[in-house]
């Protein structure tokens, strides 16, 4: 699709959501004020593992302004455990610890009071008697452990252990010139939005509906909430007209929502729980993947990579959340952008006595990309070949699309060589090499990073089936509704919250494009869950793909009806008519026309002018199913998970202080291809923002636990997110290879630069260390690790 034919799509246009944010009029969950609202503070376990012997809340309950103290036993008596997708009946997840606390900071009681201040006062007075038990903290120990079990009834600490085998791995290894084994480790970090998670619930006694406002970004949220609370799905209403203050995957406070939902119904008052930062960090169950990869790669002397054997061990924390599935989604791009012929993949998810894991931007893809890129770098280093040359030799050629990888995905489209070249050109690569070499000549440590990575987008649930064959879920759809009112004004209805992706702008732009109307005149609303079109929520870089395509289809349905009404009234066949900016006219006689206002009037008010049998009104809904995603895996476990594959080529430049190990990211170029950009400013923002997040994961961010299980990263002085000083003025070079599967050729971009930046920064740091003969294979690459490596030959000296 050529952007020259487009009116609004791909044009620089103001993002409509921005106005309310700059004027302080955004409406976040903390801003929703219901009269009589009560506030929750939580009592937390000081031990990583402890039996709860008794709870005495009498002193807290005696305080003025305190309304209730809720325990795990009470909630377990009235609610079901929160489902998490695997069939492990003895792994029970409740909002509050039941019988035993399983990590330091786990919620043991919820105290409800007139204000957050009083709730915290009272929480201090709850007397919990614990019997500390020996925790298991290290995931490799947890895997082997038979005694220290996080969930004893489960019989082991293993949540999932699976083997996948795609193609002729053994043959390819036997035939390859060389093989290499290596281990890389992805540290426990997360997205850590600046808004913590919050939820507010109100039970309406009159309608018997539970209303929830939450800073949520989660498929199945309402289904999970209603089933856990044993309230019918059609009596549970998520209000989605709240702005979500950042998510990037993690805003999934299902346990928070269960808690306030239960309390609101019990106390017959609105109840809210807004995490403070300490609760968010220690016990929001919002940590990300924490993963060890042991990989073997088979390759030829000319740099051709033939096969991979991957073992991934992931530390889910105490409660699985969606953790195991973050090992499954990367199957959709398990060979990255390369023509690797075969793969063995062993995936293991274990529980430990740490806070739980949620989906983080990319759903496991960024750690996997880091591992794949590490393999490429190591092959190049081993062969003494240029890293770019090795990539060029292995990148899937532009004429090979659609390209099916051994694990089953058909990549929709791409031109990887061109995007890589564009990035190198924008980085002025030859001069960048000179700059690096000049720095080295002056005794500084300098390095250039290279990473070429994929961003699978569009979403699907089918990875769940790979790990739990009873989950025969092949539908992953997104609906949009378009209404034209009697005044001819257009409203788009979406079924989700937004957390910064600009869905209102997306929908207005696409409706405007399809109906040739000014997007600024189009209203877009977020319907509540009882009124909304079908949605699977904005996960998996999918809204441009899925909501964009469903919106375009709904607009086309409206347009078809407009044409039919016009044809009837103009006495012509639809084929004889033209549509232009809402007016329909006869191609051979443009004076014979019907205007938009008249058509809308007819549709709503003049039934006698409607074609016989046509429904009154002018609205349409369309539900778009994920392209290619409606099948179960074949007998070789091959399956199309995500439909669209965006590509990114990263070229950062870093220097390292050899005495302190401190890394400075001085320049950064990214080449990026997500097909057609609906709004270029939004795409650029997510690409660069994701990239900054990736720099954080590569260099700074880590949730640290002491060996005894105590948590060390509860504050922003300990969990270090990049400030403006740590991020250079990134240059983003866009390229467009449209997807054949979507309405305008768009692909996903929300996970953005995060999917490649950690790999790229690791590449740059290791390039800087290469003259010393060193290589670091763990993230984050904190200064002290690098300094130890430089000056003492190992990162832990």
């Amino acid at each position: 699709m050529s952007s020259t034919n487009l009116r609004y799509v791909s044009r620089k246009r103001t993002v409509r959501e921005d106005k309310r944010f700059v004027t302080g009029k955004g409406k976040f969950v903390q801003d929703v004020a219901l009269p009589g609202t009560l506030h929750v503070a939580v009592v937390q376990s000081p031990y990583p593992k402890a039996k709860i012997l008794s709870i005495d809340a009498s002193e807290a309950l005696a305080m003025e302004g305190v309304h209730a103290v809720l325990t795990g036993d009470e909630i377990a008596a009235h609610c079901d455990p929160i489902r998490f997708g695997l069939k492990l009946p003895e792994v029970k997840w409740y909002p509050l610890a039941v019988g035993q606390a399983r990590y330091a900071g786990e919620w043991v009681c919820a105290v409800v009071a007139d204000s957050p201040y009083i709730a915290e006062d009272a929480a201090e007075l709850v007397d919990v008697d614990y019997e500390p038990l020996e925790p298991v903290i290290d995931p490799e120990e947890a895997f082997e452990e038979t005694e220290r079990l996080v969930h004893p009834g489960n019989g082991s600490n293993v949540l999932y252990h699976g083997h996948f085998h795609w193609g002729t791995v053994d043959e390819d290894f036997a035939a390859a010139d060389e093989t290499l084994k290596f281990r890389v480790r992805w540290g426990r970090s997360s997205t850590v939005p600046i808004e913590t998670f919050g939820a507010l619930a109100r039970w309406d006694e009159g309608t018997e509906i539970l209303d929830i406002w939450a800073s949520i970004q989660m498929p199945n949220f309402v289904e999970l909430l209603s089933s856990t609370l044993r309230i019918p799905l059609n009596s549970t209403r998520l209000n989605q007209d709240v702005d979500v203050g950042g998510s990037y995957g993690v805003k999934r406070g299902i346990k928070h929502a269960v808690l306030v939902g239960y309390l609101a119904r019990k106390l017959k008052r609105p109840v809210r729980l807004i995490e403070d930062r300490l609760v968010n960090m220690t016990s929001g169950d919002a940590h990300g993947p924490d993963r060890i990869f042991d990989t073997e790669v088979a390759f030829n002397k000319d740099g051709e990579i033939r096969s991979l054997k991957i073992r991934a061990l992931d530390d889910a924390g105490a409660y699985p959340g969606r953790a195991p599935f973050q090992l499954a989604k990367p199957i959709s791009a398990i060979v990255g952008p390369y023509t690797i012929n075969s793969v063995k993949y062993e995936a293991i998810s274990v529980v430990t006595n740490k806070t739980g894991q949620v989906p983080v931007r990319g759903f496991g893809q960024s750690p996997t990309n880091y591992m794949i890129e590490s393999a490429v770098e190591k092959v190049a280093a081993h062969l003494g070949m240029d890293r770019i040359e090795v990539r060029r030799r292995n990148l899937i050629p532009a004429d090979a699309f659609p390209y099916q990888i051994p694990a089953g995905s058909k990549y929709d489209s791409g031109d990887y060589q061109t995007v890589l070249q564009k990035a190198l050109d924008a980085a002025d690569y030859d001069n960048l090499v000179k700059r690096r070499d000049a720095a080295r000549a002056e005794g500084r440590l300098a390095g250039i990073g290279i990473a070429t990575c994929l961003e699978p987008g569009g979403g699907n649930n089918i990875f769940e089936y790979l790990m739990n064959p009873s989950a025969e879920i092949t539908t992953f759809s997104e609906g949009a509704e378009l209404r034209v009112d009697p005044d001819g004004l257009i409203t788009g209805v979406v079924g989700t919250t937004t957390s910064g992706q600009g869905h209102e702008t997306l929908v207005a732009t696409i409706i405007g494009e399809e109906l040739e109307m000014d997007p600024d005149e189009i209203r877009v609303v977020h319907a509540d869950s009882l009124n909304s079109p079908i949605t699977r929520s904005p996960v998996a870089s999918r809204m441009a793909i899925m909501l964009g395509s469903s919106t375009a289809a709904a607009a086309q349905k409206v347009k078809a009806k407009v044409m039919a009404i016009a044809a009837h009234n103009l006495g012509k066949a639809v084929e004889e008519l033209e549509y232009s900016e809402g007016t329909v006219f006869e191609r051979g006689d443009p004076a014979n026309k019907l205007g938009w206002q008249e058509i809308c009037f007819i549709a709503h008010k003049a039934y006698h002018k409607m074609p016989e049998g046509m429904e009154p009104g002018l609205q349409a809904q369309h539900v778009f199913q994920v392209p290619g995603g409606g099948q179960l895996p074949d007998e070789h476990q091959r399956v199309q998970i995500y439909p669209c594959f965006s590509f990114q080529a990263h070229v950062p430049y870093v220097e390292i202080d050899p005495k302190t190990g401190h890394v400075s990211v001085l320049d950064y170029v990214i080449g990026h291809d997500c097909g057609t950009q609906i709004n270029p400013d939004i795409v650029r923002g997510m690409v660069i923002g994701g990239l900054a997040h990736g720099i954080g994961a590569a260099l700074y961010e880590k949730f640290q636990y002491r060996p005894d299980g105590q948590f060390l990263s509860a504050t922003f002085a300990d969990y270090l997110m990049p400030s403006v000083y740590e991020i250079p003025m990134v240059k983003d070079v866009e390229h467009c290879t449209p997807s054949p599967l979507t309405s305008h050729g768009q692909k996903g971009s929300g996970e953005g630069g995060y999917l490649g930046a950690p790999a790229a920064i690791a590449s740059a740091v290791n390039d800087a260390l290469a003259p010393l003969g060193h290589c670091i294979d763990e993230l984050p690459m904190r200064s002290h690790l690098i300094e130890s490596l430089i000056n003492h030959g190992n990162p832990n000296a």
Partner: protein, 290 residues
């Protein structure tokens, strides 16, 4: 993260403030460290005594023999002071590393010193500059050196009924004075893992008449390195001597391990930053003469 209840008093004079101080009260100046401690309930005073409305506690004065800085003087005002830039360049360099614009707009020099974080920049620079403090209590006023004032992590020689009133910085005797300040933190503006403040005075012939090196983040409080200082004093300091003298640093400090870095890392970085701070101070001193 909501503070436990407390009473609040806003005295208008130093004497009124002193009368309100006891074991169960705590002084709030800029509040940049205290308010988070209140919010986390790590500090639980019965009474918070707000000294922001005592005019005599704020201001920078040149007495001719020393610069006196009121304890409640904002860090931003010290940073922007022409007098400080000219006469106390090391303090200015140190404050440029303290937090961010918004915290410096409220944070005070006295607050930072009284909090006595072992990694904080203001106690460190003040120690390198042989500063003194005036404390006032019910029993009267006393003046002690920063070295005596700093006791340990978040511990000082201030009695519970005493108020830190002012900081005193002596003026350099010679003209060839140089200073240097370096710190290591993962991100700009964070608490230092290691920080180094150096000050060198040279005579007309280029020999060092006075040397000071203070290190932060490497012990229970900011520390001077006397053995190193002795090696430099009286000598024609050059890069080789600095490097040799810096080998005294590991023996003089006792850093701890934490989640940000190991004790060994801090020891090694202390040597590197100590050298850098001294090198800068040397070049600065030579430049002053030029």
């Amino acid at each position: 993260m909501k503070p436990a209840p407390f009473d609040y008093a806003r005295p208008a004079t130093i004497d009124e403030a002193v009368a309100l101080l006891d074991d169960d009260s705590i002084v709030i100046a800029g509040g940049q460290t205290l308010v988070p401690m209140l919010a986390m309930r790590m500090a639980r005073p019965d009474r918070v005594v707000d000294i922001n409305n005592i005019p005599e506690l704020a201001g920078i004065t040149d007495t001719g023999t020393e610069i006196v800085i009121g304890a409640a003087t904002r860090q931003v005002d010290v940073l922007n002071s022409g007098l400080v830039a000219e006469k106390l360049p090391l303090l200015r360099k140190a404050i440029s590393f303290v937090g961010h614009t918004q915290t410096r707009n409220r944070g005070t020099v006295g607050g930072s010193l009284a909090h006595a974080d072992p990694a904080a920049e203001i106690p460190l620079a003040s120690l390198a500059m042989d500063a003194e403090v005036t404390l006032k209590g019910a029993g009267g006023e006393r003046r002690i050196g920063v070295d005596e004032f700093l006791v340990g992590p978040m511990m000082t020689a201030r009695e519970p009924d005493e108020l830190l009133v002012s900081l005193h910085y002596g003026l350099a005797s010679g003209t060839r004075v140089g200073t240097g300040f370096h710190e290591m933190s993962e991100r700009h503006g964070d608490f230092a893992m290691v920080a180094a403040a150096a000050r060198l005075e040279l005579d007309a012939g280029g020999a060092c008449t006075q040397a000071a090196l203070a290190l932060g983040g490497v012990d229970a409080r900011a520390v001077r390195i006397p053995a190193l200082e002795a090696m430099l004093t009286g000598q024609a300091v050059d890069a080789a001597l600095i490097q040799r003298a810096a080998q005294e640093i590991p023996r003089a400090i006792d850093p701890g391990d934490d989640q940000h870095a190991s004790a060994d890392y801090r020891r090694r970085v202390a040597v590197a930053l100590g050298e850098r701070a001294l090198t800068d101070a040397l070049e600065d001193a030579k430049g002053t003469a030029a």
